[in-house]
Amino acid sequence: MKNQGGDLERTIHPLAAKYLRQERMPHLACPGCGIGQVVHSTLIACDELALTPENTVWVQGVGCSSRITYTLWKGDNIDAHHGRIFAVATGMKLSRPDLNFICFTGDGDCMSIGGNHFLHACRRNLDVTVIMFNNAIYGMTGGQVAPTTPMGAMTTTTPYGNIEDPMDSVKIAMAAGASYVARWRSTDFRQVVSSIKKGIQTKGFSFIEVLTQCPTQFGRYVLKTGDPLKILQWHKDHTVTLKKAEKMTPEELKDKMLIGEFAHTTDRTGVVERYWDMIKKIQSERA
């Protein structure tokens, strides 16, 4: 499309100009994908907290979550193998506790192949901020079933319908000991911004799951639509806020995902702080 303003600079969102590499535009997201909205929210959070490309590292895994965000950030971009994002982040954060780490992962990357690492990163309360895009399917590889895919859903690897129950990342993160846990939809714009900000400010492991619409794969195979709005409607129909859920029966809550802020602990330290405190203590004892 011809640039109507004639001056390309003017068409760039000021936050994109501030934080993203222009030479990496356009990014790889499909039309209608929800990841762009959440990246936007992330940039607002970074801006409001005055983070800089110098003091903040973007970390990615494998999948749409990561391939789209990799090399967008003007600062360091460290993209791990599939599922190993938390292991790589552990090495980096323990080595450079002074830097902020924002980790972009997906439901497959985090809950399936990275499941064990996810548990232990929560348990260690690793001081990083994790944003998990949940599109409820393997998008990058062509629409295969994920551990978050709804029961009964048709995907390319469940041609007769998914016979497995989906797992709830929020419950797992809370049980494993994450300091901050929240879940929103990509359309909950202000809440996502607020949660990412809280996540960055919270000591310890911060986990923010965002339901993102995937018209290319989830829409096509599960809902039989390419219309992102219809997937957003599906999100709306299958989610309830924590507050609303309090007054609902288990029968009414069946097939519903809760959204809201589930945990926000501000007084718990994590492995990074504790390790460096231990070093200081032992070194002063030996001195």
Partner: protein
Amino acid sequence: MLKQECSINKYFVQGDEAIAEGAIAAGCRYFAGYPITPASEISETIARRFPEVGGVAIQMEDELASIHSVGGASVAGMKAMTVSSGPGISLKLEGLGWGIKNELPYVVVDVQRAGPSNGVATRVGQGDLYTVKYGSAGGNNSIIALSPMNVQEAFDLTIECFNLSEIFRTPVFLLTDETVGHTRELLVIPDASELKVVPRRKPTAPPSEFLMYPLNTPGTIDYPYPNIGEGYGICVSPYTHAAKGYATTSEKDQDKMATHLVRKVTDHLDKLTRVQEEMLDDAEYGIIAYGCEARPAMEAMKKARAEGIKVGFLRPIIIWPFPDEPIYRMACKVKKILVPELNRDGQLSREVQRAAKGQAEVYHLGSGGVETHQPVHVYDELMRIIKGK
């Protein structure tokens, strides 16, 4: 500190402990491991020692996490190490690919035990020679591996592994075995001022002019490595990259990267050839062995020499890249070469055969492991092949 014996700087320790001390001496300040026999003593020594020297040692949830966190620490500027044995090494190979592709300096120690699978966890084997070289999927690798034969060398070569990993910007293996790891003998730790330690090289060019990967000059070594938080906006990923680190799918870029990763090693064999040669000048027969098997092999050579049989010995110290040239020279001199090793598939002997290019007959003396060969085994086999039976 370790408990000192005899006099200052002398210790009576296991090979595993020597590796831990070697890492500290080399400036390693990040360690991640997962419990596995017979490498756990390295993790235990490091867990105790690292906080004393300001290093981070963590036990991760599995082998994958431990090598990936070491990769992360390396990206963050730390000299880093992980250790394991066969079953753990096969898991670590995934992370190794990320390290090779992104040219990350770090060290992986493989204390080999009898395999396949869990095998005999507490006993020696030498089955990982090809695993460390070819195990990382996708090929196009730049594997460097060093192999010590005693406790002192376990210390010295660990430092050397770190130095090579910095110079070549690649993960380097210390390929040792249960016998060396668990043998307790004298270790001399020289004064820090006497040790050669290569620091992480930092770029002098400003970020706008610096390219993360020297792909336009394939085979470049001694290239600086900026780390996270240094303003260079580094890009590290599992995908094939162009010079800045951006992912690419072009055939040209893929070939550039693959060529660079391979030539980084093959263009610098002068720096990566190290063997021990004994009594080869007049030798008519030869023995080639590495790691723990070198010791019975040398004893067998001495016994044969005492009887007037002209036997020489060669030991690869840097075992990958394989010392083709010295072995070819040896093969041109001797009639027959015996290769004792602790596997039945003949890993080292196949490599020797390839390097000998038909200049000498190569004989494999294998064993499933658990025990090293005794000198008499090697001697008897040597006599058998000499007599042509």
